[in-house]
């Protein structure tokens, strides 16, 4: 296992596979939270449903935590190796065909990590913007559950939180658009017949995911998603 990290190709493959799990997470996470548009009842029931998964939820969390650790560890390892590989920098150096997002993966990665910590502190741990974090909602079946709907909507009624979210998501979009195309190449698939399709899918999918995420705070700002006062 440790031997993997002696090889740059295997380290990169570990990074690609763990990143792939996070691409999956970002799609699943978005799909779940789209239930905000189905109303307070459905969204809160979804939140409770996740909690009710119990050990399964923890299994998922452990998989994501391991992927996260593997992804960042491989990233840091390769980054430090790559910095070492060119001790003297060029005075003039021009990118030839590379895209800014492909050159900025480490930077957008750090940005994403910062966002994750903030996002977890806001919605999972409830330590920032905590005023709406601990409300209760009564479902139609009479169960009293955590009112996540109010927490999210109230959270995004703060314009600064929204702006920060949109900026973070643009960074995420850059990371994702390179990541999706890159994972295909790293895992050894590259064929002239499919390369333009891969590029289109990478750009299209990352745009859809980012617009999806941005649509949530944007809907709060535009008043599509509103506080209802609860039950």
């Amino acid at each position: 296992m440790i031997g993997i990290f002696r090889s740059t190709i295997l380290t990169k493959i570990a990074m690609a596979l763990s990143g792939l799990i996070w691409i999956g997470f970002s799609i699943a996470h978005l799909s779940g939270h789209f239930l905000l548009f189905a109303g307070q009842e459905a969204y809160n029931a979804y939140g409770q449903g996740l909690k009710d998964l119990g050990p399964l939820l923890w299994l998922g969390r452990i998989i994501f935590i391991i992927s996260f650790l593997l992804h960042s560890f491989s990233g840091i390892l390769l980054l430090s190796r790559n910095k070492e590989a060119r001790p003297v920098q060029y005075k003039a150096k021009k990118p030839i065909v590379s895209t800014p997002q492909s050159r900025m993966m480490a930077l957008t990665g750090i940005l994403l990590f910062t966002f994750m910590v903030y996002h977890l502190a806001h919605f999972t741990w409830g330590v920032v913007h905590a005023e709406y974090s601990h409300l209760t909602y009564t479902l139609s079946d009479g169960r009293a559950v955590h009112d996540v709907y109010t927490m999210v909507v109230a959270g995004y009624q703060n314009v600064f939180v929204c702006l920060a979210y949109v900026l973070f998501m643009l960074g995420f979009g850059m990371h994702l658009s390179h990541a999706i195309a890159s994972v295909v190449q790293t895992l050894g698939f590259n064929h002239p017949m499919y390369n333009s399709l891969v590029k289109k899918v990478a750009n299209g999918l990352s745009t859809i995911i980012i617009l999806g995420y941005i649509s949530i705070p944007a809907s709060v700002m535009l008043g599509v998603l509103k506080l209802t006062g609860g039950h």
Binding site: T8, K12, I13, N82, R86, V88, K94, I96, Q185
Partner: protein
């Protein structure tokens, strides 16, 4: 044409280098980039100064010896061309040109613009050959090879080992070079017996030499004077992974 050149001067591997600025006058646009440097060196010698060291051999774009970073691009601004085949008509009168050596830990500067590329030779020594005794050259049609494979192997074989891929890569990765060599032999029937041993040994030597890793930015393909595709890198990753899973 009159030009201002900012050239990296470095006495030897351990000495500290610096940029020196030179003016060259009355340069013909028909000259090659290296001929322009020859003119500069003639003038430096006549003045009793030490000429600028740079590597060159065939001056026909096929040997891979010339190696200059011209204005931040390996082999200069013309796509699919080595420095020796770059002509001064690509520049304008009054231009300032920055000339640097390839920069990589694995390519130490020997003097001025000359770097030591023996790391590439050591990678080749690990498996960039076919060791089976094949006897006399067989009849051209005796070994059937699918046309797409023959074409692809030929494209990969066009690699002249100049190191522009390393120079262009933000990580100083040698992936394109190694991938071209691995693919060239790995696609042909004669290369099959050693296919997985070759990819493992060459990739491991590449890592040992201190080259960076591939992060799929593809500037190597953009800089390659032979326009070798990054498709080879995907194939190398695939072969390497297969070799690792199957134990060579």
């Amino acid at each position: 044409m009159n030009l201002t050149l900012h050239i990296w001067r470095q006495e030897n591997t351990t000495a500290e280098g610096r940029f020196s600025t030179y003016r060259v006058e009355e340069i013909s646009p028909d000259m090659s980039f290296l001929e322009m440097l020859d003119v500069l060196n003639e003038r430096l010698i006549n003045k009793g100064e030490v000429p600028v060291e740079f590597e060159h051999d065939c001056r026909e774009g096929i040997c891979g010896t010339c190696s200059l970073m011209v204005n931040g691009v390996p082999h200069g601004p013309e796509k699919g061309t080595t420095t020796c085949q770059l002509h001064m008509r690509k520049f304008k009168d009054g231009d300032e040109i920055t000339i640097e050596p390839w920069r990589a830990k694995a390519f130490p500067v020997l003097k001025d613009l000359v770097v030591d590329r023996s790391a590439f030779d050591r990678i080749i020594q690990k498996g960039g050959y076919i060791s089976a005794n094949t006897g006399n050259a067989p009849d051209g049609n005796a070994i059937p090879i699918p046309k797409p494979d023959a074409d692809w192997a030929f494209e990969a074989a066009a690699c002249i080992g100049c190191g522009a891929c390393v120079a262009a890569c933000k990580n100083a990765s040698a992936s394109l070079f190694v991938a071209a060599k691995v693919t060239h032999l790995g696609l042909l029937p004669q290369g099959q017996p050693e296919r997985y041993l070759r990819v493992t040994a060459m990739v491991e030597q590449m890592d040992q030499e201190g080259f960076g890793s591939c992060t799929n930015t593809y500037d190597c393909e953009g800089a390659c004077p032979k326009q070798i595709s990054v498709r080879n890198i995907a194939r190398m990753n695939r072969d390497y992974l297969k070799a690792k899973i199957m134990g060579n």
